[in-house]
Subunit: 243 residues, 2 copies
């Protein structure tokens, strides 16, 4: 039957993928996605048909998925992390709604980057948190900074996705400066690159020195709340238990 599954594959390794996601990819006729993610999974699904495309090609990719589904194919459209968090779920549903064609779309969740990064650092998001993308491709920069400010005021743990790219090098510095208006310079900051992938690496920093560490578009930055601390190489935000 023709249908589309929008699948969150998790951080990248097969081990961190849910069993539902794996089965759906095995049962699909075609697996589609952004080049980098197709490369991550390709070797684990031998003999499968793959269709990959570049970044910023999301609408095109969804239209092609719809077309393939209309041709009777079962399509697995993948995102890294959770397909429902800055992934392909929303745009796929929008493209189908816009087309007026009643193709069934199932969204399958995955482990999002904040969860993967947090597990590597210890337990930094044990309490209320926000997730903010610093990419201004589709969001006005002033709205992004307003959200960082509100998150800082609310003493949320702050998880920053897409903290830096070649064309956006200073947004993370500006975000840091906004948080510094509300939190101590010693506030712990965890920096995780390539969580759950080859070349995974992490650093434990503070608001003061966080910009001295390597941060790129495959990095998640987690800024602790006022109670977060480092101990024995782990970043911990206490939930409030009295030991």
């Amino acid at each position: 039957m023709s249908k589309i599954a929008v699948i969150g594959i998790g951080p990248g390794s097969m081990a961190d993928m849910t069993q539902r996601a794996k089965a759906a990819m095995e049962n699909a006729d075609i697996i589609m996605g952004y080049n980098t993610y197709i490369e991550l999974v390709k070797k684990h699904f031998p003999g499968k048909e793959f269709l990959s495309s570049g970044m910023t090609r999301e609408i095109e990719r969804c239209r092609l998925a719809l077309q393939k589904a209309l041709e009777g194919k079962s399509v697995a459209l993948i995102s890294s992390g959770d397909s429902g968090i800055y992934g392909m779920a929303g745009i796929m549903l929008e493209v189908v709604n816009h087309s007026g064609i009643g193709i069934p779309v199932e969204v399958m969740p995955g482990v999002t980057a904040a969860s993967a990064a947090a597990a590597i650092l210890g337990a930094p998001i044990m309490h209320d948190f926000v997730v903010i993308s610093l990419s201004d491709l589709m969001t006005p920069l002033e709205q992004i900074y307003k959200r960082v400010e509100c998150a800082a005021q609310g003493d949320f743990v702050i998880c920053l996705y897409n903290p830096k790219s070649k064309s956006r090098v200073d947004y993370i510095e500006k975000a840091r400066d906004i948080v510094l208006k509300y939190r101590e310079t010693t506030t712990p900051v965890g920096i995780v690159r390539n969580a759950g992938r080859e070349n995974e690496a992490s650093d434990m920093a503070t608001l003061t020195n966080m910009l001295d560490f390597e941060i790129d578009m495959f990095t998640v930055v987690i800024i602790g709340n006022s109670k977060t601390y480092f101990e024995n190489g782990r970043m911990i935000t206490p939930r409030g238990y009295d030991l």
Copy 2:
């Protein structure tokens, strides 16, 4: 070798568990956790030793996990959803640090309830979001409301965990009233009970009528941002693509 794995089992079904989590539970000598979660997984790991305890027994459970690890056992300590989000990861690390004993603790992430609920509703957390627990067992109520207020001001999608229990029936109403200061009465609200479990159910509501629907401690409430909408039975927060 004696060690402790703190495992997020995802929303509840085996299908939504990561392969890493499943393997770790299969390889453990003992699987420990809150009664309800042990009941969810017990039948899938036949012949395994289980130790379950009640809610509010978290510190005790971690101390027992540590003791079992010191006896040479490999312990799998489970949480529903992601072990690192209001789960057992933080308290387990704190108990080990407090003991001064160098037992290795590995944190394994899972699909958190917000992701599971979002997938059922459609794609409501495609943009910046917050997760807030309305439980005031260990957090001052005024801090919880302050966070709801900051989240509303920042136009975040708001995911509420533990929205209601027998002793906390009006916090969700107060939270709703705070959000209403900043958002339209017609703002979409998705309500998901028992995501990924038996008796899964969901409702699509608005800020006006959300309190007319069943909300309990196994419910996740997702309040849309100013751009969220319902279409064809799905709740969608647009990322900003121009169709």
